[in-house]
């Protein structure tokens, strides 16, 4: 079933962050807490799904020479919609994610999928591809965010997990902690990939 594969490949085999090394800027910047990772993941997934869908629908109307600027225009439109809607209806999350919301437009995952997949496949498959990649992206952000938040602040999703005697390792929510955590997560993903391949 091609469709199911289109969705599940985004989780591990073609995980946009851990395997394809795309979308790194928001991954490191917003994962100081799990809830921010979740928020960014959902916002990016919305933009990814909508732009994949629209790009796939308008592909007969797009002259090849200017396809990249047109894709960018489509993506930027949905990013702006996301920015305005978030500012109006989820202001706290909008303030927390800051400039990284408009930066979704240069998230290489979105332009990458528009060019590599959506411009060459049917709208349905493009939609599912967007959902799969977006889900993989969100999952990665939440796991990384939860890890950094737990060690760096003693909480997960704001809930105190570590006891009162726990001294949070501030480094984890600072930039070095982000880089180090991601490095180990990529290695972990590779280990999992190898295991699944051996069993196959």
């Amino acid at each position: 079933m091609k469709i199911i594969k289109d969705f599940t490949k985004g989780i591990l085999v073609e995980n946009p962050v851990l395997v394809l090394a795309l979308g790194l800027c928001p991954t490191l910047a917003v994962t100081s807490s799990a809830i921010n990772g979740l928020g960014m993941g959902c916002a990016a997934t919305f933009v990814l799904v909508m732009s994949n869908l629209i790009v796939s629908l308008i592909k007969p109307l797009v002259p090849s020479r200017i396809r990249i600027p047109i894709f960018i225009t489509v993506i930027a439109t949905f990013v702006t919609i996301t920015k305005l809607v978030m500012a109006a209806y989820t202001p706290a999350l909008s303030e927390a994610l800051g400039i990284f919301i408009p930066l979704i437009v240069v998230n290489c995952i979105i332009l990458g999928r528009a060019e590599a997949f959506a411009s060459k496949h049917s709208p349905l498959r493009s939609l599912v591809d967007g959902l799969g990649m977006g889900f993989g992206f969100t999952l990665t952000l939440v796991v990384l965010g939860a890890f950094r938040e737990l060690i760096g602040s003693g909480t997960i999703f704001g809930q105190q997990i570590m006891g009162d005697n726990y001294k949070p390792a501030l480094l984890m929510i600072l930039p070095p902690g982000a880089f180090l955590s991601l490095g180990f997560m990529v290695a972990l993903a590779r280990m999992l990939l190898e295991k699944t391949r051996k069993e196959a």
């Binding site: 090394a21 070095p176 490095g183 990529v186």
Partner: protein
């Protein structure tokens, strides 16, 4: 003058765009395998960032933001009654406008490089058009206009210095990675993971610049 120097030193060392603000990571990880490519990419990015800062500032101040410098407001005012200063608030078009400006600038740089330095052009390959998706460029444009409200000179200096900081981090990273190829790295960590660990250590080192005074 002192203020501009503070903005510059801050963007290069203390709040380095890559190691502290997390902007410009995709090319940082992708292009840093060889030092010559890194230097070429760095120069291109400095050029685009400076030019983009200037152009986006002009577009923001005179076309998009509400207020008395908005060109549309000036024209409307000339034609009659007092239009309130906030009537031409096009700030929501900022993302589209900025990213298209950046895409055009990168296209322009590509053409120039093709004519003047074909070897660098082919060495950079696919990474040259990818400068468009370098979040550092859009990031600095956003910071200059929407977040920090710099004036033109401050925006220009900030853009230039941010590019220099990016190049600095990139060249350092490529130097380390070139040597890392001959080091006994555990199999699972080879390539991307060890690059991130190195970046984390560099980021820690750069934390030492806090409290820099002169």
């Amino acid at each position: 003058m002192g203020n501009l120097l503070i903005i510059a030193i801050s963007a290069i060392l203390i709040n380095n765009f890559v190691l502290s603000r997390f902007l410009g990571l995709c090319p940082f990880v992708g292009v840093s395998k060889k030092t010559e490519t890194a230097i070429g990419m760095g120069m291109a990015v400095i050029f685009v960032m400076t030019l983009a800062s200037a152009v986006t500032w002009v577009i923001w101040t005179y076309f998009l933001s509400p207020g008395t410098s908005n060109i549309f407001w000036i024209i409307a005012n000339k034609f009659g009654s007092q239009t309130p200063a906030a009537s031409f608030d096009l700030h929501y078009l900022e993302t589209i406008a900025f990213i298209l400006v950046i895409a055009s600038l990168v296209q322009f740089v590509e053409l120039v490089l093709q004519k003047t330095s074909p070897s660098l052009y082919s060495a950079l390959g696919i990474f040259l058009p990818l400068i468009t998706t370098n979040c550092a460029i859009l990031g600095v444009a956003e910071l200059n206009t929407m977040s920090l409200g710099y004036n033109f000179l401050e925006a220009l200096v900030h853009g230039f210095a941010a590019g220099v900081g990016f190049t600095l981090a990139l060249i350092m990273m490529s130097g380390i990675r070139e040597r890392l190829q001959f080091a006994p790295v555990p199999r699972l960590m080879k390539g991307l993971p060890i690059a991130f660990i190195v970046a984390g250590l560099m980021s820690m080192a750069f934390l030492g610049f806090s409290g820099l005074k002169f």
